[in-house]
């Protein structure tokens, strides 16, 4: 009897120590759920979700503060992926946040630009280059099409155009779906 009590206690203490050590040794710095949500979000950094970027929105979703349907660039596919990850029902995109649209990039009309640097400060991904009183230009490969540079421009010289598809990224069209499921 006594032997059983001691041995169970000893095993308990041993496992307790083991778990305690493992908890310290393998501690995860940040919440992996936030990273996984962040990986799904399109990283447009546009703020249409009412959060200052994709990461803050991911944090808000993780804490249950924000619903999953506030990201227009991610669209229905993004909402579905988030719903799958979090085990909740997909919701339709909240129209208050905007509508799903084709990807765009900003183009600066370089002749009109006065070099005020306001758009450079607004760009969330540093995709605009320029200096005070000198022409600015957009690095198209790094522009996320967030529209954030449009409002600050005092001369309205920025335009959003559909993102060009390079020749080598040509893709096959979806076949006309018939009954073949």
């Amino acid at each position: 009897m006594l032997a059983a009590v001691f041995s169970i206690a000893a095993i308990g203490i041993l496992f307790g120590l083991g778990l305690g050590w493992a908890a310290r040794r393998f501690r995860v710095e940040s919440d992996p759920v936030i990273d996984r949500i962040d990986a799904i979000l399109p990283q447009t950094q546009c703020g249409q979700c009412n959060y200052p970027g994709c990461r803050p929105y991911a944090e808000a979703i993780a804490t249950g503060e924000a619903p999953i349907n506030q990201c227009p660039p991610g669209g229905e596919a993004g909402i579905k992926a988030l719903a799958d990850l979090l085990g909740v029902d997909p919701l339709p995109l909240n129209p208050e946040n905007g509508a799903e649209a084709l990807p765009t990039v900003a183009v600066i009309d370089e002749a009109t630009c006065i070099g005020c640097t306001l758009c450079i400060q607004a760009c969330p991904v540093d995709a605009i280059v320029g200096a005070p009183k000198l022409m600015h230009t957009v690095i198209a490969a790094e522009c996320t099409g967030c529209d954030l540079c449009l409002p600050p421009c005092p001369v309205d010289c920025i335009e959003m155009v559909p993102r060009p598809v390079p020749e080598e990224q040509w893709s096959w069209p979806e076949p006309a779906a018939a009954g073949g499921r």
Binding site: D38, L41, P42, Q43, T44, Q45, G53, C54, R55, A77, P124, V125, D126, A127, E142, T144, P166, E167, E168, Q169, W170, S171, W172, P173, E174, P175, A177, A178, G179, G180, R181
Partner: protein, 521 residues
């Protein structure tokens, strides 16, 4: 199965061709090759205008390096790359550049691309050429550079830049070079005719490639029904005195000419998913590519022409033509006797993997191995697509051992992760499943669409990762600037001392000024 030693795969790869194996699935198709093999390859006359597309390979289109009105000699580079990722485009004959315009480019997308229009002057005059005569003593690097500068791409249909493939292979270490002469798709006979008529050039190309990658031997794989070819290549090997080149006959089974399938037949090994033949120490090249390499090295002739099979019941006199790149397909059909009365469809490539062309104004490109004109009788009448009955025929014929019916379901429901897990990327788009499907489901169309989607999703992920990094970098920068400003203000404050002493000092200085004023008065 158990405890197989680790070296076994490499040994099997080294023994390529000594024992033949089988790949899974595949189809026995009617050949329809005889009709185009009856007359020797004929050189096609130069047309009025050559339309040379700047995109004739996988990757980015070249940039035009000539301007309208410029005179060019045969072999002059007319399209180049700043980054030198893929091969250049060269002038197929001497003449004048009459325009650089958008024109159909014989691409499966059907879209137009920039073409350099050349008006031949009829002299067909070569530029200054510098052949590497002593290639057997030349450094492999010299040979690789020549292959790169000659615009050579894989002529079996994939048009992947050869220089890229060969360089990558030479860095990984290659023991065996495989020349692919197994032309398994029905109707196409350009490689067979090449092997019959120019076996010496193929053997020479094999020896040069072997030196360029440091391979010890070469296996030339041909089909068992190509009797004349076996004889011709065997004689050529003897003439060259190359003891390390073997000609191996493989049984004709579609799609045996696929790189991965051919390797499986010759070695019994599968190229790992996402891997390359170089992982097994093998390099696979088409026989026509080897000929192009031989020309480029020993004669300094870049790739400006190719053999095109013009065949099908829709042309009057099917044959093989040696055509300059950029020749309109209409001219080739004309040389093959013109269209037969019931010609109904124009296909570039074979009946299994080719794609229909909207017009015969499309030019011959480096990828154009076959121009197939089908009649009403050849085309299966359009069948209504029926639901999948899960018969499993598609899985039985799939040479890549995939489950087409499952993939089809995943792609249609947008389940991209599952389709990736089920090996969609390993689909070679051979069309066997399409052919076998009793419900007439256009499986390959779905797989191409699915593969495009996987690619564009990967691209989106790459862009998202880049944006995330930049967003985070900007955040840290802004924070750093803020912290710096705070520190500067604090420092200034400290330099000025705290508020109380400051007031006292002001009061004292005011007092001093007043006293000075008073004493002055």
């Amino acid at each position: 199965m158990f405890g197989r030693p680790k070296t076994a795969p490499m040994d099997a790869a080294r023994a390529a061709g000594t024992r033949l194996h089988r790949f899974d699935g595949g189809l026995r198709l009617r050949h329809h090759k005889k009709m185009s093999c009856e007359v020797p390859v004929q050189r096609a006359a130069l047309p009025q205008r050559l339309y040379v597309p700047l995109l004739q390979h996988t990757g980015r289109a070249a940039e035009a390096s000539v301007v309208t009105g410029q005179r060019v000699l045969k072999g002059d580079p007319i399209g180049c790359f700043r980054h030198l990722g893929s091969g250049c485009v060269h002038a197929p004959t001497s003449g004048t550049v009459s325009a650089v315009v958008k024109h159909p480019i014989s691409h499966p997308s059907g879209r137009e691309g920039l073409c350099i229009v050349i008006r031949p002057d009829g002299l067909d005059q070569w530029r200054q050429r510098q052949p590497i005569e002593h290639w057997a003593e030349a450094a492999p690097e010299t040979l690789l550079e020549r292959i790169r500068d000659s615009g050579i791409v894989g002529l079996g249909g994939a048009v992947f830049p050869t220089a890229f493939k060969v360089r990558d292979a030479s860095q990984r270490g290659i023991h065996t070079l495989i020349l692919n002469g197994s032309e398994c798709e029905p109707y196409i006979s350009c490689d067979e005719m090449l092997m019959r008529e120019q076996p010496d050039a193929i053997v020479l190309g094999a020896r040069i490639l072997q030196r360029a990658v440091g391979a010890q031997r070469t296996v030339i794989a041909i089909e068992d029904q190509m009797g004349a070819v076996n004889q011709a290549l065997g004689d050529a090997v003897r003439r060259a005195g190359a003891g390390n080149i073997d000609v191996v006959k493989v049984t004709t089974l579609y799609p045996e000419g696929g790189e991965k399938q051919l390797i499986q037949v010759l070695t019994g090994l599968e190229v790992p998913a996402g891997g390359r033949p170089a992982d097994l120490g093998l390099l696979c090249q088409n026989v026509a590519t080897a000929t192009a390499v031989a020309r480029a090295v020993t004669e300094d002739k870049p790739l400006v022409e190719r053999i095109v099979t013009v065949t099908g019941n829709g042309v009057r006199r099917p044959r093989n033509l040696l055509a300059a790149i950029g020749t309109p397909i209409a001219d080739l059909v004309e040389l093959a006797g013109g269209y037969a009365p019931h010609a109904a469809r124009l296909v570039l490539g074979g009946p299994m993997m080719g794609f229909p062309l909207a017009s015969d104004a499309n030019p011959v490109t480096k990828a154009a191995n076959c121009v197939l004109v089908l009649t009403e009788q050849d085309i299966r009448p359009p069948q209504p697509e029926l639901p999948c009955i899960r018969c499993g025929e598609c899985a039985r014929v799939c040479p890549a051992r995939l489950l087409p019916q499952q993939l089809n379901r995943f792609i249609r429901s947008g389940n991209w992760e599952a389709s990736e897990d089920h090996g969609l990327e390993d689909c070679i788009e051979c069309g066997c499943c399409d052919f076998a499907c009793p419900s007439h489901i256009p499986l390959v169309e779905w797989f191409r669409f699915g593969k495009s989607q996987l690619r564009s999703r990967a691209e989106d992920r790459r862009r998202a990762d880049l944006a995330r990094d930049r967003f985070e970098a900007r955040g840290t920068r802004l924070e750093r600037i803020k912290a710096e400003r705070k520190r500067r203000i604090a420092e200034k404050k400290r330099a000025l001392g705290d508020q109380r002493t400051m007031k006292d000092r002001i009061a004292a200085s005011v007092e001093r000024a007043r006293q000075r004023k008073e004493s002055a008065e």
